[in-house]
């Protein structure tokens, strides 16, 4: 039989007498009741108001002969009560903000939820702003994140499967899916991958993502978002959402290429204007991939394809520039990437000075000084603006890598090189898959019914099916009509 005092000493030793570990021993009719909680992760107010008070209440209403622990268990003022029988589970509950109550001569303990609110509230999304539609975004709190999804989809078939990942962090990872839509084989596969992970800790969904890829690619095969509405749209499409504790970004999979061109807003605006925007985005994608490469190719190899007057204009503008075109383009691209990176990392109030230096000094002055030609600045400006149209950072970086490959091939082989590399890009993309779903679906393989929400979006009343490239159990989105 154990004494409460001894257990408290044991826990203190376990935590190395950490300053935030608070303990209290209350004597109730000769039996010692021990209360343990972490001052840092629990709310002391809740502990005093409800836990200590309940013990006091129980003490007053019982006598020496009754089982104090059982009385306490039945009368404590708390909604979440877990019985802990294993001492090794103590640290997990303590660190998560639970209060543990132990008693003399009892072989189990009670863990009561007394978490402190250590996260910010639900705020507007900063990385994926939209004009029309819900503005809330995920936070660092796991229960809030689950709540943001649960309150949108009230169906009981929305299931959360929890897996704990990380030997030290023990982070909760929730796999959310709608049971009768999503492909459960895929859920099992994800669970297996997660359970196999043996690492000391994960802190963000980004860590998990690297375990789930089976093929190397610079393009992300898993979408990450901080918008709950996008997560819910994906769930309704039959996709699977992975939420990681303490991370405001959730992972969505399986994922296809065209998803990076879509935004959650697409579903709330008029179909015609959204189709137009999506076509613009596809054009922007092509521009941002090819422009610098084509510029290099037509000015150093294939001058013949340029119209007369443009060629003369280009030739005169390049007059007196000391660097080869390739170096000029690489230089400007590097400057832009540095500018973008420093803009992301620097505090907001430094933005003004940076834009002055970036735009005026680097752009204007470099042209005036004859270091770069004006046309090269224009080419890089178009390329950069077009790349900023995509919200997913990983996707943007993927495009950037391929842009460099295109530039290199244009430098060595001209337009032929650009075409050949374009072919390589298509081959690479079509070889990728995300949990069995081809990355280029619904274009390769071509699925006609899924074209209704690919590049163009049909009006919602006319889309009856969920994306067919997902192995969904329930393929219809909208009833009342027979698909012809």
């Amino acid at each position: 039989m154990t004494k409460a005092k001894l257990i408290i000493e044991k826990v203190k030793k376990l935590y190395g007498n950490s300053s935030d570990l608070q303990t209290r021993i209350i004597d109730v009719h000769g039996t010692d009741i021990g209360v343990l909680f972490m001052e840092s992760s629990s709310s002391s107010e809740t502990v005093s108001k409800f836990i200590i008070k309940s013990i006091d209440y129980v003490a007053k209403n019982t006598n020496k002969l009754s089982n104090i622990y059982n009385h306490l268990k039945n009368n404590i003022f708390n909604s979440q009560l877990t019985t802990v029988t294993n001492f090794s589970d103590f640290p997990y509950y303590l660190s998560s903000g639970f209060t543990i109550i132990i008693a003399d001569d009892v072989n189990e303990a009670m863990a009561l939820e007394t978490r402190a609110t250590l996260d910010r509230g639900v705020t507007e999304s900063t990385s994926e702003p939209i004009l029309r539609g819900p503005k809330d975004s995920f936070t660092e709190s796991n229960s809030k994140n689950l709540g943001l999804i649960r309150k949108r989809i009230k169906d009981h078939n929305l299931w959360f499967d929890e897996v704990k990942v990380g030997a030290r962090t023990k982070s909760k990872v929730n796999i959310a899916y709608i049971k009768d839509i999503a492909d459960t084989n895929c859920v099992e596969a994800i669970k297996q991958v997660l359970e196999k992970i043996d690492i000391d800790g994960i802190l963000d969904g980004g860590n998990l993502r690297e375990y789930m890829l089976n093929k190397k690619s610079v393009f992300p095969q898993i979408l990450s978002t901080e918008r709950p509405d996008l997560a819910c749209q994906s769930l309704l499409d039959g996709k699977i959402v992975i939420l990681v504790e303490n991370s405001p970004f959730v992972l969505i999979l399986p994922n296809v290429f065209i998803d990076f061109i879509h935004t959650s807003e697409d579903q709330y605006q008029k179909p015609f204007s959204i189709s137009f925007t999506r076509i613009l985005k596809v054009i922007a994608l092509i521009i941002t991939l090819f422009t610098p490469a084509i510029y290099i190719a037509i000015t150093t190899f294939d001058q013949t394809v340029v119209p007369d007057e443009l060629l003369i204009s280009l030739a005169v503008q390049r007059e007196g520039v000391p660097f080869p075109t390739f170096f000029e383009v690489i230089l400007l691209m590097a400057i832009f990437e540095i500018l973008r990176e420093s803009d992301v990392r620097s505090p907001a109030n430094m933005g003004a000075s940076m834009s002055i230096v970036g735009a005026l000094i680097l752009g204007q002055a470099a042209v005036d000084a004859g270091i770069v030609s004006p046309i090269a600045v224009i080419v890089i400006a178009i390329t950069s603006i077009c790349s900023l149209i995509f919200t997913d950072v990983d996707f943007m970086n993927g495009i950037r890598s391929w842009r460099f490959i295109f530039i290199l091939s244009a430098t060595f082989f001209g337009l032929i090189g650009v075409v050949a590399t374009g072919l390589m890009l298509v081959l690479k993309l079509s070889s990728l898959d995300s949990f069995g779903v081809p990355f280029l679906a619904p274009f390769s393989p071509l699925i006609h019914s899924s074209q209704k929400d690919a590049v163009v979006r049909y009006p919602l009343p006319r889309i009856f099916k969920r994306p067919e490239y997902l192995q969904n159990k329930d393929k219809t989105k909208q009833g009342g009509h027979n698909e012809k």
Binding site: T299, T300, F301, Q303, T304, D308, E309, L311, I312, S313, L314, A315, V316, Q317, R318, E319, G320, V321, P324, T325, V367, P374, F412, F413, G414
Partner: protein
């Protein structure tokens, strides 16, 4: 894997088309070529280089002035080498858009010089070919035009504007011209260009600064060839008639007198059908619909009867004009610019082979061509009546 990458990298540097690599600012972009015959019998070649930046630093606006380099040689290639030695940049022929040949070259026979430009893999074969009239070909290149921001383009844009809006010149590109020479029974024509005004003033930048340019290029005559040899010029009316009879016109403009008043008729829709009967008889039918662009004098054009009468007159006048041109070709030049021989060759190839050599001298001049014209005046422009009519 590592070895493969090293091999690939090595290949990139070893077998790439780096030989074809050239920076755009190291090129001297040749946009026009003039070919003359010098006094000593050598060829004189002149290149118009488009991208010579202004001597000042203002290369920002993309302003370009032109420079002309010339060189002489026994062959065209020799002349090119002379120019190549003079220019600090390497010559680039990919953007040639005009080639001007002088009268002497044309008289000697164009095929003598045709080979060099066609054989060069860098040139696009789609540039305009012109013949300089009275002046040397080099002079034509020198004239700067005030309305064109790229001086190097002035001749090309002059031809283009003329061919779409007037069809006075029988404009033709280089390789179709060579093709025409080589085809059977179809003699080619070339637009002839000449300089009006002092050529000295016209070749300086000052010509651009004046409100009325002292010197300009004029493009309205056509040079008639038999095979590849130049035989003579015809004026703009004949040039237009040739275009009509060849069914190769986009805008037909014709002025005639009706009741002693001047009337101008324009048609954008003229079709010509040539009907080959045999080696002596050919029927041509010209059909067109158009509008009146100018009517001076008191004519009641609201009345259908008057318009019908006008159409009759127009048909008569145009027939006369076409026949005149035809006669000139048959009797004066013996040049089958209408391609009658070519059409006969298509129908009776065996008989054609027997008479091929005698076609231009004996058969073509004796050909009886029956021209029929059918024009309709469909509208009278923005005015329904004439101003003279309202005054009455």
């Amino acid at each position: 894997m590592k070895n493969k990458i090293i091999l690939l990298l090595a290949l990139i540097f070893l077998i790439t088309g780096c030989g074809n690599y050239r920076e755009i600012n190291d090129l001297a972009i040749v946009t026009s070529i003039a070919i003359d015959k010098a006094d000593d019998g050598k060829y004189e070649l002149s290149y118009l280089i488009a991208n010579s930046p202004k001597s000042q630093t203002s290369n920002k606006e993309g302003e370009a002035t032109t420079t002309i380099y010339s060189g002489k040689g026994e062959t065209l290639n020799e002349a090119t080498n002379v120019i190549d030695r003079k220019t600090p940049k390497s010559l680039y022929y990919g953007h040639i858009n005009v080639v001007v040949i002088s009268e002497e070259i044309a008289q000697e026979g164009f095929l003598k010089i045709a080979d060099w430009l066609l054989r060069n893999p860098e040139t696009r074969k789609q540039f305009y070919l012109l013949q300089s009239k009275e002046k040397t070909a080099k002079t034509i290149l020198k004239i700067v035009e005030p309305l064109e921001s790229f001086p190097s383009q002035s001749i090309a844009s002059l031809i283009e504007s003329n061919s779409t809006f007037e069809s006075l010149t029988s404009n033709i590109k280089y390789s179709p011209f060579v093709e025409r020479i080589l085809s059977k029974g179809f003699d080619p024509t070339l637009p002839a260009v000449t300089v009006v005004g002092s050529e000295k003033k016209g070749s300086t930048e000052k010509n651009l600064e004046k409100t009325e340019p002292a010197t300009y290029l004029k493009l309205n005559d056509a040079a008639i060839f038999i095979k590849d040899k130049f035989v003579g010029y015809v004026g703009e009316k004949d040039s237009q008639a040739i275009s009509v009879l060849n069914d190769n016109i986009s805008e037909f403009k014709f002025s005639f007198k009706y009741d002693n008043h001047d009337v101008v008729f324009i048609s954008n829709d003229v079709n010509t059908k040539t009907d080959i009967k045999d080696f002596n008889h050919i029927n041509i039918k010209v059909k067109g619909q158009g509008y009146l662009s100018e009517v001076n004098g008191k004519i009641d054009i609201e009345k259908t009867k008057v318009v019908k009468k006008m159409e009759k007159k127009l048909e008569k006048e145009t027939k006369k004009a076409f026949e005149k041109t035809l006669k000139k070709m048959q009797e004066k030049y013996h040049a089958d610019v209408f391609g009658f021989g070519n059409k006969l060759y298509g129908i009776y190839p065996q008989k054609w082979n027997q008479i091929e050599k005698k076609w231009n001298r004996d058969y073509f001049p004796k050909l009886k061509v029956n021209i029929k014209t059918d024009f309709q005046i469909a509208s009278s422009g923005s005015l329904n009546r004439t101003i003279g009519e309202v005054l009455k």
